[in-house]
Symmetry: C2
Subunit: 599 residues, 2 copies
């Protein structure tokens, strides 16, 4: 039976005992990292949240403790009273490696079976084992470090926003399903049989209502939910840093958030981030990087050679341009050394993004090699090379297609090149923050055959583009912005429409009738009747932000109890079956008896 | 159409302009609290989160602004540039009442219809109107003050716990239904048809797992959910301040939390709270106050007169004692003046709590009046009076019954007396913090005919009572504690069982087989196999705590978007109907087509 710690008071963390403590009596409590027997002594490495310290038990130190120590095994929980002494053979790899603790008394608080995973850094165990025994996975020091970082990050955000006059206001978790957006998680109502709450995909409507209420500066660190098929680094429940301000414009939000991000990196990692960040419009990032969240840590920018090749007879180029597309290229500087196989692989790669093929020109040892050379005059070929700044040693990679395909395939190709050349590996500690602004207000939804809101239906158009809502939706720009870090979107937001006339125009453009708009967003539109301030905001994905801070590329490393790819938790076996009584009370029935798989 | 604020930058809050700013140019933005026309001038009270300031528009101040100001109505949103000047007729009731702003330019950011409720302090509007137009209700300064208090309270808690080495760790919202406890809110799973997540009633199991993981000090301010019929001041979703610590005992948790509460009142309200708080055992508070959350701001304590009356022939008293009950009384000091009707009312009152009746002895003007006097000798009557410290002017109120009824009815009676005599009204600013300790480990569930855990099945028995788990469950005490403020439980917790042998005994006592215990709590019991620290914790109801800080007795005043008594939100109309497509994807069906009422 486990011993109590009655009468004992912990005096030190295991990782906090140093040379300056030599001669002191300490009481430490923690887990056995390792036990070794050597020359009639028992050496125990004791671990707690603060670190590890070596404890020695011996007949001559304390007979009773020594006797007891013989039963110790890994992961036992111990409470030890001892005396700090200099270590005979110091271990410079351990922060406490200069000292050790002479074990004068020992209580075995809890025994332990052999754990199914090792409690050590950088564990290479299968994910389902780690999730099933998450409480052991979380014992590993690198995991604990991640959650210390997460805690600090949330704290810094709250401190900063509090200092800047923001109020944290909690918005409801049990709210109404809005069919716009991703799939909702539903919660059946007991009071209203046949009715459902939805878990929020974001507090968007509520934070706008708080602006109508005159809260002026709102924020919240809040759980949000999306019932979507899980890609890597997506979780059904995730955490947003959500904020909204009144009486401001784009500049105010950008300025505030640059300071916030600067403070985050400084306080959490002691890294100085320079502000202001770079800014580019959506048009610029698409033209230069083929992506609205470009990784700007390296070059390989896209270049438009449509005007150079517009009059050639090469059908692939000609067709693309004639059909309203373009011909664009990347100059892969210094990549002429790629072999034929490698280049073919890049061709296969762009095809997965819809490109019909990848044309290339290799400038190697004074020669020009290219499967498409035959379609051009020598002068034209040289003109293409020159327009791309091609020099000996370069590899020019060209895609011709409609805009979306050209951007996507070349945008991904430049990332692929960077990975291939190790430009964005773990060694690259650059932090390229970038604001992307002036997003399109609409995007065309091929499936629904109508324009949908790129950001959301409450996004304010740029003042100079308001008239385009009727005439040129394709080119209407929004007061919307994303903050991108090293090619990942970490946050985004917009100024909202505060004027009912513009809001009506917007709904019209999105194909809503007045009635259908009211049906979906009635309470917000109703609220807007009673005096609405100019307002706007931004939301970050906290999980993603913490991934950057913790230096991990796995979202499960920064969520204490994450779900697996099937949105299940192998530890608790959630989701699970429930009693019929529970279903009856909710007036719901299971539609068909499908075998539920083991999760 | 609403004007933009382009080119303007707000310089001051409306409530932050004082004499020291006279002569300055200011740009202010806010809502029109009131507009008056007087002597060719237009006076506008402009309101924002910081307060209200008076603005004057006049032909001679600025012609254009004056012209525009003529269209202003209540709740319009304005942006005004102006100059601060001394006020000719100061208003000492307004913080900004010494000055006014000369309106030099005016933009009407948003017009407003006449709001359905007044935007003013202490509104006396029907609750459903306030909830339906919550965004307007939240505009009222007293409501905004409540949310500023709530924000501050959360901030202080986080600062304090951070300083004390606690990590805020987020636990899942989509988790597993545990049939123990209140009714769960369920969330159907799309990946596993027929399976459900449950929204957490508390993060209890997860926080204990974090202790197994070696996090040592965890906290979280977190939403919890209970699908219960709503009594006053209960909400389906509520917020807990949840904490857990390892390697500690009761004293550590109590000591830390006294400092936390002291800090809260100091930083939020600048009120000094003395620590340590009073402490009483469960036995003491039941005996003295008939309640485990006694209001100790006034007397009227219960007194046991069983031994005095045990040998009398009065059947009511005799039966109670013979059946294992007791006879207890309250000396309502100075209440002899109560008339017969008032006393009868008190009799009716105690009957609602199961008492068969209320015996009384009135000591008025030298006389002893009592309907039960005839059952006693004069000496016995005097002995009863003496034992209760009865003096002329007192009213002695007596209940004889089994313990639970005596406690409940007299406990409620003393509160009723205090309300009647206005001892605990709004004027009573006392803060009586009280720790109630040594709660019973079990309570007998008459319905289930078995002992159930009073706190929860993981609560540690007091060391000296461990053997009572087998022999005397009734009297086994737990290492459980509540913190009570002025008769309300604001938080509670316990030391948990960390030893599997004791845990098994506990489950046995609760009537679980090893299998059924594993079925329900398997993952926690599994976790406990791998080295478990001594641990314990506490959770506060944040909403309730903020009610105290804000001085309101309505929980809806401290939750931005609360639900009504039917767990519905009249503003968004949640819960609502959803598409069949959504239900199909979740493989659920609505059991019977009941008319859903309008919510």
């Amino acid at each position: 039976m486990g011993e109590s710690i009655k009468g004992l008071k912990r005096t030190s963390g295991c990782g906090e005992i140093f040379e300056s403590n030599v001669g002191e009596k300490v009481t430490i409590m923690g887990w056995v990292q390792r036990r070794r027997d050597l020359g009639g002594l028992i050496f125990v490495d004791l671990r707690d949240r603060s670190g590890i310290v070596q404890v020695i038990f011996g007949e001559e130190i304390d007979k009773e403790a020594f006797k007891k120590a013989e039963s110790i095994r890994g992961e036992y929980v111990l409470a030890i009273e001892g005396e700090v002494t200099m270590r005979q053979s110091p271990n410079k790899d351990m922060p406490t490696g200069m000292i050790e603790v002479l074990g004068k008394s020992l209580r075995i608080v809890s025994e332990a079976e052999t754990p199914p995973i090792y409690i050590k850094e950088d564990l290479d165990a299968a994910e389902h084992i780690r999730l099933k025994h998450r409480y052991l996975d979380l014992r590993r020091p690198d995991m604990q470090r991640n959650f210390i970082i997460r805690h600090k990050a949330s704290k810094v955000v709250r401190d900063f926003l509090d200092e800047n006059g923001f109020l944290e206001v909690e918005t409801p978790m049990l709210t109404k399903s809005t069919p716009e957006g991703a799939r909702d998680y539903l919660v059946p109502s007991r009071n209203y049989p046949g009715s459902f709450y939805a878990l929020p995909q974001s507090p968007q409507l509520f934070k706008q209502l708080l602006m109508v209420s005159g809260f002026e500066k709102y924020f919240q660190i809040v759980k949000c939910f999306r019932d979507e098929d899980l890609r890597a680094n997506r979780q059904p429940e995730f955490t947003q840093i959500d904020m909204e301000m009144s009486f401001i414009d784009v500049e105010d939000i950008i300025g505030l958030n640059e300071k916030l991000l600067q403070r985050l990196w400084k306080e959490v990692l002691d890294i100085n981030v320079e502000i202001p960040f770079k800014r580019m419009t959506y048009k610029e990032v698409m033209d230069r990087y083929g992506s609205d969240k470009p990784d700007t840590r390296f070059g390989f920018e896209l270049q438009d050679i449509s005007s150079v090749v517009k009059d050639v007879e090469f059908k692939v180029f000609k067709d693309a341009i004639d059909n309203g597309g373009s011909v664009r290229a990347i100059n892969a500087k210094g990549c002429a050394s790629f072999g034929r196989k490698e280049i073919d692989k890049l061709g296969e790669f762009v095809k997965t993004f819809g490109a019909k093929g990848l044309a290339w020109i290799q400038l190697k040892e004074g020669e020009v090699k290219s499967p498409i050379a035959k379609f051009f005059t020598e002068e034209k070929l040289q003109e293409i090379i020159n327009s791309l700044g091609g020099e000996d040693g370069d590899l020019l990679l060209i895609v011709a297609d409609k805009a979306s395909v050209v951007y996507k395939s070349l945008g991904e190709l430049r990332l692929e090149l960077a990975r291939k050349l190790n430009l964005i590996g773990k060694d690259n500690k650059d932090l390229n923050f970038l604001w992307v602004t002036e997003f399109p207000l609409f995007e065309y939804d091929d499936e629904e055959e109508r324009y949908v809101a790129k950001h959301h239906p409450f996004t304010m158009p740029m003042e100079e583009d308001i008239e385009l809502l009727d005439t040129d939706r394709e080119n209407a720009r929004a007061k919307a912005y994303d903050i991108v870090l090293n090619g990942e979107e970490i946050g985004g937001g917009s100024i909202r429409i505060h004027d009912s006339a513009i809001q009506e125009k917007m709904f019209e453009a999105l194909g809503f009738t007045k009635e259908s708009a009211y049906e979906k967003f009635g309470f917000l539109l109703e609220a807007f009747k009673y005096g609405t301030p100019v307002h706007g905001g931004l939301a970050y994905g906290l999980d993603r932000l913490v991934m950057f801070l913790a230096g991990t590329d796995n979202i499960k490393d920064v969520i204490a109890f994450p779900k697996n790819q099937n949105a299940a938790d192998p530890m608790t076996n959630a989701p699970g079956e429930v009693d019929n009584k529970q279903l009856n009370e909710l007036a719901i029935d299971i539609l068909k008896a499908t075998e539920t798989e083991e999760n």
